[in-house]
Amino acid sequence: MRVLGISGSLRRDSHNMALLRHAGELIEAQGAEFAVYDGLREVPLYDEDLDAEVPAAAVTEIRAAVREADAVLFATPEYNSSIPGGLKNGIDWLSRPSLTESALRDKPVAVIGASTGVFGAVWAQAELRRVLGATGARVIDDEVAVGRAPEQFDEHGRLDDEHLVDQMRQITGALLAETESGQLAELAA
């Protein structure tokens, strides 16, 4: 089973990227593969004129990365009470050209988030779950909200709050269980 991680923050020392990598370790500890997709900044702004049979290489790449993954884990910061434009833009490309052909259709997905403020990007996470639902994804109804992010990571870039790590184990476990139950259902069909 392969899980793809996508961070909504592009910053080099991003807390959400650290969160995603820690989640990746927990996913690997549960027996699945994990890889981070890091091409979000290369994806052009969505423009239907560019949404041709052969779109930009970065679009082909993000669509292929999501299609080839069995599940996707998103980590998002919160910009102006919502999700970063770049992340929304990537999802808009993934959802095209139609809901039946969306790369996210029926894809198990989960959302976690970190912010420098106290609330841990809860509004952005709720918004992202709503957006992912609209693309046809199978959204895990749970969250991990890491507030005051600069204080939450140890020198290795891992969360050092055991309560938050437990929440991370839960949400990654739920994502893997959802993915596995879908694969079993497909085998049975």
């Binding site: 809901l99 039946t100 259709r105 639902g133 609209a134 046809g136 199978r138």
Partner: protein
Amino acid sequence: MSTTTDTYALPTGTWSVDKVHSNVGFGIDYMAGTFTGTFSDIEAAVTNGVLKGSTRVASVQVKDPNLEAHLQSPEFFDAQRHPELTFESRSIERSADQVKIDGEVTIKGHTEPVTITGVISDPIADPYGGERFGLTLETAVDRDRFGISWNNPLPSGEPALANEVKISVDLQLSKQED
């Protein structure tokens, strides 16, 4: 509950649906009106007084292909995991041409009891040398109970889509040889 009464509430023997002349539809309050749809791929049969029916989620028809795809996604019926909606009667009462059917409906993997009311017609000879009777049925279910909770707020903050879904079923059932 008397099994004898139940058995004879519907014509005896086996009757199966004439798909072309039958219809399964739904209606739900949406914004200022009613959003309606149908399922084109249906199965139904009456066997010894028990009515069973099912529809394929993939055959849902509304007036926009994108909405049809949305209805099949995990936010609504989740066609990938739950490809069928099913119904099975538990007891059927009849008084003149009125019927009341208690049974169980399964949508998105959730099974709930449901009471259906409707009208039955007595068997007639059809032009194809067979016999058929009709059932016109109606019920309402709360979609929330089946895990279908999608909504969007109106500017007032009120939800755009109601919870109660009216289901209407028109069946013509033809007699099968024993």
